[in-house]
C-alpha cells in the first residue's frame, strides 16, 4: 500500500460485529457494516475534494493538476478479511495527479493544512473511526430494541 494511503476499517469492533451478527444474522450484518463504511468513506472523499479545490490550496493551487480531483477514491470496494472489513479512502496514490505533493509540500509550496490534518495527524481518522463505530453500535442497539 502506498505511503499516506488511508484506510477505514473495523479493527477494534470485533465484539460489536459478533453481537450484530448474533442479532441480525451474518448477511444483514455485512450489509450494515458495508453501508456504514461507504458512508464514512464518502465523507473522507468529500473532505479531500474540498481540500484540493484550487481556492483552498497554497500557492494558488498551481501544484494541483486537473488529475488531482480525479485521483480521489470514490465508491471504494469493501474488502473482508475474516471478520474484519476495510476500504481505501482519500487519494488513490497509484493514479497520476494524486496529491502527494500537496501533503508534503515543496520548497516553494507549504504543505496544505487541511490535507496534513487528514493524512498526517491521527485525530482526523480517529474521528472517522469513531463515527463508524457509533453507526455500527446504533444498529446493534436498534436490533436489540433499545
Amino acid at each position: 500500500m502506498a505511503k499516506n494511503q488511508m484506510t477505514l476499517d473495523t479493527s477494534g469492533l470485533e465484539e460489536a460485529l459478533s453481537r450484530l451478527v448474533a442479532n441480525v444474522g451474518i448477511e444483514r450484518a455485512q450489509e450494515s457494516v458495508e453501508k456504514h463504511l461507504q458512508e464514512v468513506g464518502k465523507k473522507i472523499s468529500e473532505d479531500t475534494i474540498e481540500a484540493v479545490q484550487k481556492s483552498n490550496l497554497p500557492a494558488s493551487g498551481r501544484y494541483s493538476t486537473g488529475d488531482t480531483e480525479e485521483a480521489v477514491i470514490r465508491n471504494p470496494k469493501v474488502t473482508w478479511d475474516g471478520g474484519s472489513a476495510w476500504i481505501p479512502c482519500g487519494f488513490d496514490f497509484e493514479k497520476p495527479g494524486a496529491g502527494g505533493w500537496l501533503i508534503s509540500g515543496t520548497p516553494k509550496m507549504r504543505p496544505d493544512a487541511q490535507l496534513r490534518r487528514m493524512y498526517k495527524s491521527k485525530k482526523y481518522m480517529a474521528d472517522r473511526q469513531n463515527e463508524l463505530a457509533e453507526a455500527i453500535w446504533a444498529d446493534i442497539l436498534e436490533s436489540e430494541g433499545l
Partner: protein
C-alpha cells in the same frame, strides 16, 4: 523547538528554511534542509495543566547530488536521535519543484517534558 532543530541541522553547513518559503523564481542552493512543524500536543496533564509538549516536525533534505540526499538524510537522522529526537525509519522520497533536485523527508518527534516535581499553574 523550531530553533533547536534548525540549529542542529545547520551544523551540516547547509541552509535550513521553512518548507514552502522559497519564492517561485528563487534558485535553490545546491544542498539545503527545510522543516515544517506539523503539530504540538500536550504530553500529559497534572492539576489541569499540561506537563510537557510533544513536537512533531517533518524534516526535508534536497540536493542536486542524489547520493548526497541519501547520506545526509541518514546523517541528519543520526544527529537528531543523538539529541533526543524520536525518528522511525530512514525517511521517504520527497518531491522537489526543480527537476535537477531530489529530496528525502522524515518525521521527527520531540517530547519536551516538564520534570518539575510540583507543577504550578500560572
Amino acid at each position: 523547538m523550531r530553533d533547536e532543530i534548525t540549529t542542529l541541522l545547520e551544523s551540516f553547513g547547509y541552509p535550513v528554511r521553512l518548507q514552502g518559503s522559497f519564492a517561485p523564481s528563487e534558485a535553490y542552493p545546491d544542498n539545503f534542509f527545510t522543516v515544517w512543524n506539523n503539530t504540538s500536543t500536550d504530553w500529559s496533564h497534572y492539576d489541569n495543566a499540561p506537563t510537557g509538549t510533544v513536537w512533531d516536525f517533518t524534516v526535508y533534505f534536497y540536493s542536486n547530488d542524489p547520493s548526497n540526499v541519501i547520506t545526509k538524510t541518514e546523517a541528519a537522522i543520526a544527529l537528531l536521535r543523538q539529541n533526543g529526537w524520536i525518528i522511525s525509519g530512514k525517511g521517504y522520497d520527497a518531491a522537489a519543484d526543480d527537476p535537477n533536485f531530489t529530496g528525502r523527508a522524515f518525521e521527527a518527534i520531540f517530547a519536551e517534558i516538564d520534570t518539575s516535581p510540583i507543577i504550578r499553574r500560572t
